[in-house]
Symmetry: C2
Subunit: 254 residues, 2 copies
């Protein structure tokens, strides 16, 4: 099986390297950016191109890991009309491929990927979708070789899942960034937060976030809340503090 | 050494049980609420009271784990004027004890505690403060018996630390709650988020949150951002989405 990767970002990098590591053959990398295409192709030991029209036409699997805004354009410009075409985006419907090829689907690994950080694929939940039962079988086999946590989900539900992932990961990480910023102002090393960050994540393995909630907002401890607001000079951070504290308090009333 | 615990909440419960487990002798529990006082005292095998004036006067250590709003009142009402008095609050200054007793300090374990969930105290950062070098030595010894991660920090810096902890833990946990809420509407089990939550926490052990940031807001992918906003019916969740996305984008510009 020959695989072509379209994209060279965080997800494309980690997924293609993992497939390569599992013995799957990556035949070519496409990326708009020559440096990125070259870097990833070097890691995979395969040729690369920056021109959609030069993507090989003889592959069995085309994996599109591109920004949503350019995905449709690249789909329209590549030449092959064979093989199985899949994208890896949480937020794009499967039918973005409709009319361009006969066999297509989605393989969405719900994880946060950074180019430089290897992750354990075996526990990553993969959400699949395919336009035919035969393609579903093929995708199940490919994803099943990478992870023990594979299931099928419609485009519509995947959109909601992706939104939940943005909260659970991207927003959480930014909240960490704001916490670190507070410590920087006091010259306290950021790593003192790690046991707290770890336990906050570990806790929701054994209780719901609603049960796990602690702190001044859930106790509605206005004394502490007001002192904290007075300490925040940055108006954005004050807004975040206020909005999330209100939201915690409101949920507790339900 | 005889220890008296004032409070029976999440922190008081976990800390007193850990001290008990380590062989320290808890001689009495005070709590405003009889059920809570009785429950904790039963776990510790000691007497309890709901009347501050009935707190034993012969203890060596008095540990105040009370809501900030009632701490000063209980300090003023108890009878002893001996022993070392410490509170465990991130947000209260040490001098709340000033004028009531000669020997006092602070022992703040920065962690999220729930009554029902045991935690590994050995990795919890303890932040200490004491009004004399002798009391500092005593506190160092007590906290050092519980954790390998003990340091001294002024009341002023501890206030900022506590604010950072509210972000890193309480706000993070609420963001998890919002993510779960999105999935509930789609009948997707919440536990699909756990590998993502775990990796988001693990990532900041090896890179800064700024380096670890991924997702539509950091890419400034307006297509995805607008689709997500359109999916959020709840005005509070929409505000959280908007505010945090803007904040992510702004930090990325710096």
């Amino acid at each position: 099986m020959k695989i072509i990767f379209l994209g060279s970002g965080n997800l494309a990098t980690r997924l293609s390297l993992e497939m390569h590591r599992k013995g799957m053959r990556i035949g070519q990398v496409y990326s708009h950016t020559p440096e990125n295409a070259e870097r990833l192709a070097a890691q995979l030991g395969c040729p690369w191109t920056t021109v959609p029209e030069e993507v090989d036409t003889d592959a069995d699997l085309y994996v599109f890991s591109l920004k949503d805004t350019v995905l449709a354009d690249v789909i329209a410009r590549i030449r092959p009309n064979n093989g199985l075409w899949v994208h890896t985006a949480g937020s794009m419907p499967m039918d973005v491929f409709s009319g361009y090829t006969a066999d297509y689907g989605v393989m969405y690994p719900m994880q946060t990927f950074s180019k430089v950080r290897p992750v354990d694929f075996s526990v990553i939940p993969f959400f699949l979708e395919a336009n035919t039962p035969e393609n579903a079988g093929k995708l199940q086999q490919i994803a099943g070789a990478l992870s023990g946590n594979v299931r099928f989900l419609s485009s519509d539900k995947r959109k909601s899942l992706h939104l939940a992932a943005v909260f659970a990961c991207n927003f959480t990480n930014h909240i960490y960034a704001l916490a670190v910023k507070i410590l920087q102002g006091q010259e306290i090393p950021a790593d003192v937060l790690l046991p707290l960050i770890d336990e906050t994540a570990a806790k929701v393995h054994t209780m719901t976030p609603a049960e796990a909630q602690t702190g001044p907002a859930i106790r509605y401890d206005e004394n502490v809340i007001n002192k904290h607001l007075a300490m925040l000079d940055d108006p954005d951070m004050r807004s975040v503090y206020q909005l999330i504290s209100q939201s915690i308090h409101k949920e507790a009333q339900i």
